[in-house]
């Protein structure tokens, strides 16, 4: 696996969001919660099958990490995954510093980096130029931050991060394909399903 942050983005292996999301979900054996960020990220999560432990964001760009942090603090015995795109994470890079400071052992951040705002016409993000999200996360205090070199490396990283105390961050360079479908648009229902899925009754 590639833990070097010196490798330029253009030289990393290009993977596919839906394929990687399927590989992630296949490794969630302990009802881990997944907070899917706005847009293609949660659309592809939806298309991997609607786990009751998935929360799908239809707005509030950039906030998957702090939502996941709130869940992780509330349920320290449950693994929590924040699934974000590069555009969303760039909007709230500050949340990485908060995660670095709080250091929740049960939180894993996964970034699908296609270096563009795919859904609005593939305009390039800052990662298309020089920003390196793994280097930023390490600088923010998330020492266990890695680029996935390829699909097998992604799977190994996911398994390791779910088994060992975090916080962790995994970034993967992906292609600019759109998601394979779209999430149903009923935010209150999405919230209720997720809360039942992680055994919360109000």
């Amino acid at each position: 696996m590639d833990t070097q942050t010196s490798l330029h983005h253009a030289n990393r292996k290009v993977m596919n969001r839906h394929d990687l999301t399927r590989r992630l979900v296949a490794r969630l054996h302990r009802e881990e919660a997944v907070i899917g960020g706005i847009g293609n990220t949660n659309f592809d999560l939806w298309m991997t099958g609607q786990r009751p432990q998935n929360f799908y964001m239809l707005g509030s760009m950039g906030l998957a990490c702090p939502i996941a942090l709130g869940v992780a603090l509330a349920q320290p015995g449950r693994g929590v995954v924040a699934l974000e795109g590069d555009g969303s994470l760039l909007m709230q890079l500050n949340c990485l510093a908060t995660i670095g400071a709080i250091a929740p052992a049960n939180l894993l951040v996964i970034v699908m980096d296609n270096a563009c705002y795919q859904i609005t016409g593939a305009q390039p993000t800052a990662t298309a130029a020089r920003a390196d999200l793994v280097a930023i996360a390490q600088g923010a205090g998330i020492a266990n931050s890695h680029w996935a070199a390829d699909e097998a490396g992604f799977e190994q990283l996911v398994e390791r991060c779910l088994a060992q105390p975090g916080p962790h961050l995994i970034a993967a360079r992906i292609d600019s394909q759109p998601a394979t479908g779209t999430t149903e648009r009923d935010p209150a229902l999405i919230r209720q399903r997720f809360m039942r899925g992680i055994a919360v009754t109000t």
């Binding site: 702090p66 996941a68 942090l69 869940v71 992780a72 603090l73 509330a74 709230q92 949340c95 009754t201």
Partner: protein, 175 residues
């Protein structure tokens, strides 16, 4: 040298304990500093210092998703940072209990604080948040208690505004 906490901070902390608050998030303000110290010292509460107020709106949603009640503390200048993120509360019907210390009103000395201070109640109301204002220290605890009930028993987003008059004249540096 620390002065003894003003009684409203102690009373509000007791209200938050009774309401079952388990997470607290804040961008600091001098007027909230004693309540923040009480929350940090409370073993029942996980207290997080935020980088921006909108992060706290998301954490409050996450806490509720995970089965916990929370409180978000900020200064009125931070309300503007949250506006887009307040859409999360209305869309998913999340509760919110926020406490906002006011700037830009009673004996304000910094002109840059005035615009956001004046806009704060209207901005909150525009995003569907119930606004309760406290002008006297004795009203702080009962108002927060009512706000917590509306938030957690009635799924409402509620902000309690602590007026600058109640908090006292703002100075750059606190002792």
């Amino acid at each position: 040298m620390h002065e003894p906490p003003p009684s409203w901070s102690l009373e509000v902390h007791a209200v938050l304990q009774r309401a079952g608050i388990r997470q607290a998030f804040y961008v600091p303000d001098a007027g909230l500093s004693q309540l923040i110290e009480l929350l940090h010292a409370d073993p029942a509460v996980a207290t997080t210092v935020l980088t921006t107020e909108q992060e706290g709106v998301a954490m409050a949603a996450g806490a509720w998703l995970g089965g916990q009640r929370s409180v978000l503390l900020m200064q009125s200048s931070g309300v503007g940072n949250c506006v887009n993120m307040f859409s999360l509360l209305a869309s998913c019907r999340f509760p919110l209990l926020a406490m906002v210390t006011m700037r830009g009103e009673w004996a304000e000395f910094n002109p840059w604080q005035v615009a956001m201070g004046m806009a704060t109640p209207a901005v909150l109301a525009a995003m569907g948040i119930t606004v309760l204002r406290v002008d006297a220290a004795a009203e702080a605890a009962p108002t927060v208690e009512a706000a917590a009930a509306a938030a957690f028993d009635c799924d409402q987003a509620v902000a309690v505004l602590l007026s600058q008059r109640m908090l006292g004249r703002k100075q750059w540096v606190t002792q």
